[in-house]
Symmetry: C2
Subunit: 371 residues, 2 copies
DNA sequence: CAAATCTACTAAATCGATTTACTTGAGCGC
DNA sequence: GCGCTCAAGTAAATCGATTTAGTAGATTTG
């Protein structure tokens, strides 16, 4: 492509933004000054203190007039700062991730940062490879969303819903103990004692903590969770079908239950499907409680009772702490854990237990026998 | 921060990947060759043809051994290629966008490209500003998703569901005529004649085309759409509530209807809510058909009949055509429109019309009188 | 044997900024 | 009038690559 060295310097074309950008050198030539001077002035460097205001004004005016835009790559190379983060997620679609990303972007772009994104889809080679690609791309930090961080990274990392204890990683986590308590207490208050649980997929980073918290909360409330009332999400799919299948498994067991605590809203929706298909009305016969409070949980039919995770806020916090860490430099101390609080959202998928009498165990006395 | 010029050259640390990356110059020094030679060899340049294979092997071995990674910013600056695209979307959350992005990323990362993302949230200043920021960031092209492109850009643009006729933009669009036909014919085949329509928000780029297509299809089928059976999504929110409100408006009109064609699945869900709340059963009394076929449309209650847009494919096509255009250079011809086909997905939210007799107009004779 | 051709490289310019270390001339004190 | 400081800038190095134009020595060719 032929580049014209000089083009008619009309100062005003019909389209103001049409012409290709002016370089600092060209701008300097235009002004009869050196690039150094312009750089000092335009960046308001202390070394520009001796430049008289009139010259500064000339420079600013010319920069504005010729629409000078500093070349991002050149500047980044020189400053060794890309103003870019890498965000690693399992999958973009499916509510959860998108919500977190939304919080991330809200904060980042305000601060003049962009981010590049990669989905690992739980494939080990991508889980390893993308962080390296990010480093190769000169990102200044990485945010991992619902993604295991095993290897230590040469740059600051924030992990949303990460529970690995790796050096250099700030974990943004929900208060899971509280979440489990809120959910179970809600069910117990409604009279439920035979509570089924759907655990998350093994690859989901919250699965283990959540399950531990549920067991702890159950113990504290004097409820036993029968082993055959525990199911688990198996396949990797953003569809409610996974929860549907897990619930069918529960239904095949002979063990009766009046309430179901699903790993997330999507699987709760699948669960309700399975229950209704099996002729069990929700919430009249079985209460179902979800997790996350995704966008349309409120509009599902029945509207989902759920534990809200402040996903957007978690994304924002990840972005905030990461930028703060970057601004402070590698040496400084930083929080290893940032905790956010869950909220119980009561809607229509949970109701008072019906067959309380038949089921009620001598609750407070048989602690932890089931598990 | 103090920079050490030389660090202990141990050659092997405990962790192979711990040390900071080696530059080409360092690698060259290590080998007793010049950076030029290494560059030619490593990039397999034709100019390296005279370098004997033994030397090449030495170079490759050293690069591998010292874990040489070319500096992204330096290379990009020199080559004037950032291998980065910009993606502009209204909002990240809410199914539609995430699905498209998923298709984009699938293709892009395979091709060695990354993308940065920005959400304009329909704010005019961001709609103007972000494309400029993208250019400042040296992206090689831009993908706009469900976003108006009014201004001509100095780089290739692909627009998913864009309908603006702007120079340099490839529009990836659904065959809307077909989509409207599929939906209306389905309803008409079920015996529906009094069909309500919920139009999209004015800012949504599909709103106008879709509405035009619906009117055309209705005319072709000999159905009139009564003006008071047309409602419109108003506020900017990813929640089904918007459709809920639009439907309430329809219900307040005295005009009866037995079917409702919603602008998208999310609003269809809100619509069903409003209908049920008003005591009208879906699909027994009112059939509802959505649009998009988002992830959990199948699992809604009742499962949504809808028109599927191949969103992921549209994202992939946008990425593909854009990369092809970039590879060809600015001069080459490129497709201005790429069309994809919709698909009717029949589920449980539509059913045969009940009160056919009272309603049937002398269909084929009163063409277009209503609108 | 001189010229031409190869082989195996390298020097230096370039991409577009930033930044440190000068320079040059003027004013000022003594 | 000598040295000093200050004002107003500039030259040159640098970031880490890529790429064009050479170069020095060996080998072939006429």
């Amino acid at each position: 492509m032929p580049r014209k060295k000089s083009r008619p310097d009309t100062g005003k074309t019909t389209e103001g933004s049409e012409r290709r950008p002016v370089s600092l050198k060209e701008l300097a030539a235009h002004l009869g000054l050196s690039p150094s001077t312009l750089s000092l002035v335009l960046n308001d460097s202390p070394a520009a203190s001796s430049i008289p205001q009139t010259t500064k004004d000339r420079i600013f005016a010319a920069a504005r007039g010729l629409n000078y835009r500093p070349h991002f790559l050149a500047r980044s190379l020189r400053m060794q700062r890309s103003h870019t983060l890498g965000v690693l997620v399992p999958e973009i679609s499916g509510g959860y991730t998108a919500e977190v990303m939304s919080g991330i972007e809200e904060h980042l772009l305000k601060a003049g940062y962009f981010y590049i994104i990669a989905c690992h889809r739980h494939k080990p080679e991508l889980l390893d490879g993308y962080p390296k690609l990010f480093v190769d791309r000169c990102v200044e930090g990485m945010i991992a969303v619902d993604t295991p961080c095993r290897a230590e990274m040469p740059l600051p990392v924030a992990s949303v819903s990460g529970h690995d204890d790796v050096k250099g990683v700030t974990n943004i986590v929900l208060n899971h103990a509280m979440a489990a308590q809120l959910a179970l207490r809600h069910l117990v208050d409604l009279g439920h004692r035979r509570i089924a649980v759907i655990k998350g997929q093994t690859f989901s980073s919250d699965t283990q903590v959540r399950w531990d918290s549920i067991r702890a909360a159950a113990r504290a409330l004097g409820v036993t969770i029968h082993p055959s009332l525990v199911s688990q999400l198996e396949s990797d799919s953003p569809s409610p079908e996974v929860g549907y299948l897990a619930t069918q498994k529960l239904l095949r067991s002979s063990e009766p239950f009046t309430a179901l605590f699903a790993f997330n809203d999507v699987s709760a929706i699948g669960a309700i499907h399975a229950l209704q298909e099996a002729g069990r009305r929700v919430p009249e016969e079985v209460s179902v409680i979800g997790f996350d409070d995704v966008d349309n949980a409120a509009f599902y039919n029945p509207a989902l009772t759920t534990i809200r995770q402040p996903l957007r806020q978690m994304g924002r916090l990840a972005a905030e702490t990461l930028l703060a860490r970057i601004a402070q430099g590698a040496g400084a101390a930083f929080p290893e854990i940032v905790t956010v609080e869950p909220e119980l959202i009561v809607r229509q998928s949970t109701a008072r237990a019906q067959h309380l009498v038949a089921v009620r165990p001598r609750a407070r006395k048989r602690l932890g026998s089931g598990l």
